[in-house]
Symmetry: C2
Subunit: 356 residues, 2 copies
């Protein structure tokens, strides 16, 4: 059966990088991948066109799609929209919530060809391969009550950090199962010495552990986890944590690989439907210049093939093609260094296609 | 008038490191510092003795003291106490709250003698000097409602992230004033694209800015701040943020200097009364072995002299003594490297005293 894919270019460099990834998708079709590809609007561009960051039409297309490929959303142009609900980011958050994409997989991998690019000493990051599993549809991002209101003569801003047992269990299972297929070590990150919500988190992780006897579960406070990521990232295999901590830690981990322009991510729901996007943002400062790195988006296509479209062989071929291009010494500006050849966004796309 | 100082050795390595810092305090007395020094119990040891991590007697002594020197609290021995309110950490949180110590100053400095010890490349951390200003008595650490309760047939854990305008303004002023005395750059960290509580935060910071025209205010989302700290820490001068984000970012920043065993901190209230403690924790794994690094605690005494006791000259003398000892090549195990001489906790204390 033909499956649907929705491409959401988004804002900033989004259109340029998804254009290259779409060429790879088309090449997969030519090799027999049975998909139908559509495009849609999300974020700032959607707001400009429809007054909504997540137009009903996009949501409808998204529901029908097995896989969604997103570039990135947001930019200074929309940071001043008074109504928070209309900001580009809310389009992204809305899509996550509406589709129930609770399981966010954020690999932090150092490409051997790029280990020099890390701000960390080479030996600390060479061969690094962490998977951060972030809960994506709960926690303080969506908790009620929230708002800004007058209390005792002054304004007060408030949000609610909340997790139920079933929400914790569901993301815990994703993480345990991933750990089983990897290094069999799972580190759950919380702040159980201060926050009740994360005491429950720790308890549920402990309760799940006996069902996965081959996985070694440990716990770490979030402040310590931030330190340990900086100090010795290779101690981690799979990390599981809530929405807010996951936002912070996954970005820190991605950055310390030195390869953030290379890192894809997946956001999955219970049925395996998923949204795939690069870890980096919309980079408005370099938008439209044909210099952005399309590799994280191309690798997001590979993740989509693996996790939503059951096409692991094609996924591996894309990953190999990217590896070959790096071996040949081609680099976009963000990962360029002495002895490599700097290429444009579209030249990088050409090269990956040629190597595919 | 004689001022009171309260020393709270605490748990783990706390007693060893505060013992060395107390010798320096005594040496300051000998040089004319008019203080009376008491000791008290806090944390796990207090729980063992009195069933409370913050006994009434300690709180009373703390209220009477101008400066409090804390070692560290907590350890695995007390991690299993069922009642969260009795855990060592709650003693520390209680003291912060009771004394209104809302202004937490956490310097992240790379000592030139120790730049090699960082996991980051030398050029990225040499000369690093950031001051992280963390709000310490509000936010999600203290917000109500909080707890774990049954809802719709399952348990739910919840906490409240809340800040009022006056709380934000007060910590904002501390940060702006510090920035004026330093590099005149202030970066306020929030998650204003998602959390209403931090939209108010950003708004109040903006409102204060015109009163400090010599300070350049910028804003950064917390996920980006975590990345930028790893990527290029020297871009920061003063950083101001809430309790939870400050916990995470200040620890990450401290660790990336490579000198976390060297970093003091101050927690101040409106009247200049303050608690001073090393940034590192209670390190139960090396407790009682006379190998811990006492320098962060000794430098906490210097911070106390500067911020609470109005004795900046003595503070500078302590800091110089520490610098001399490092120049001589003495190191505790945590900061040892090729070509240096590893000394014990008490030998390090001897050396600083001799250089003082
Ligand atoms: C754009 C923003 C709302 C989003 C988040 O915080 O989840 C982004 O930082 C991410 O990590 O995908
Ligand atoms: C011990 C703990 C409660 C504390 C905190 O989170 O504030 C510590 O991590 C700190 O940063 O001083």
């Amino acid at each position: 059966m033909t499956q649907k894919i929705l491409v959401l270019p988004g804002d900033g460099i989004g259109p340029e990088i998804t254009a290259q990834a779409s060429r790879i998708l088309a090449a997969c079709q030519a090799r027999g991948l049975d998909v139908e590809i559509e495009e849609g609007l999300l974020g700032g561009g959607a707001y400009d066109a429809h007054g909504e960051p997540l137009p009903a039409e996009t949501l409808e297309k998204a529901r029908a799609a097995r896989g969604i490929l997103l570039g990135a959303v947001g930019g200074p142009k929309w940071d001043t929209i008074e109504d928070l609900a209309k900001r580009p980011e809310k389009g992204l958050l809305g899509l996550r919530k509406e589709l129930g994409l609770f399981g966010n997989l954020r690999p932090a991998i150092t490409y051997p060809q790029l280990a020099e690019a890390s701000s960390l000493k080479r030996e600390l990051v060479a061969g690094l391969d962490i998977m951060i599993v972030r809960e994506l549809t709960g926690g303080i991002y969506f908790g009620q009550p929230r708002g800004i209101e007058e209390r005792d003569g002054q304004r007060v801003g408030f949000n609610t950090y909340v997790y139920s047992e079933s929400e914790i269990e569901r993301i815990g299972r994703v993480a345990f199962e991933l750990a089983q297929k990897r290094g069999r070590k799972l580190c759950s990150v919380d702040k159980a010495n201060v926050l009740e919500a994360t005491i429950l988190w720790r308890e549920v992780m402990e309760r799940l552990a006996p069902e996965y006897p081959d996985v070694e579960l440990s716990h770490m406070y979030v402040d310590n986890a931030a330190m340990q990521l900086v100090r010795e990232p290779k101690q981690f295999d799979v990390v599981v944590t809530g929405n807010m901590f996951g936002d912070i830690l996954s970005d820190a981990a991605a950055m310390l690989t030195g390869s953030i322009g290379m890192l894809p991510s997946a956001s999955l729901n219970e049925s395996g439907q998923g949204m795939y996007e690069p870890c980096h943002g919309s980079a408005p400062d370099i938008a439209g210049q044909n210099v952005a790195n399309p590799l994280a988006t191309i690798l997001s296509v590979a993740m989509m093939l693996r996790y939503s479209l059951d096409a692991p062989a094609l996924a591996a071929q894309i990953e190999e093609a990217v590896g070959k291009v790096l071996d040949e010494g081609l680099r976009t500006a963000d990962i360029a260094s002495g002895g490599t050849r700097t290429v444009s966004t579209s030249e990088m796309g050409d090269a990956v296609l040629a190597a595919f």
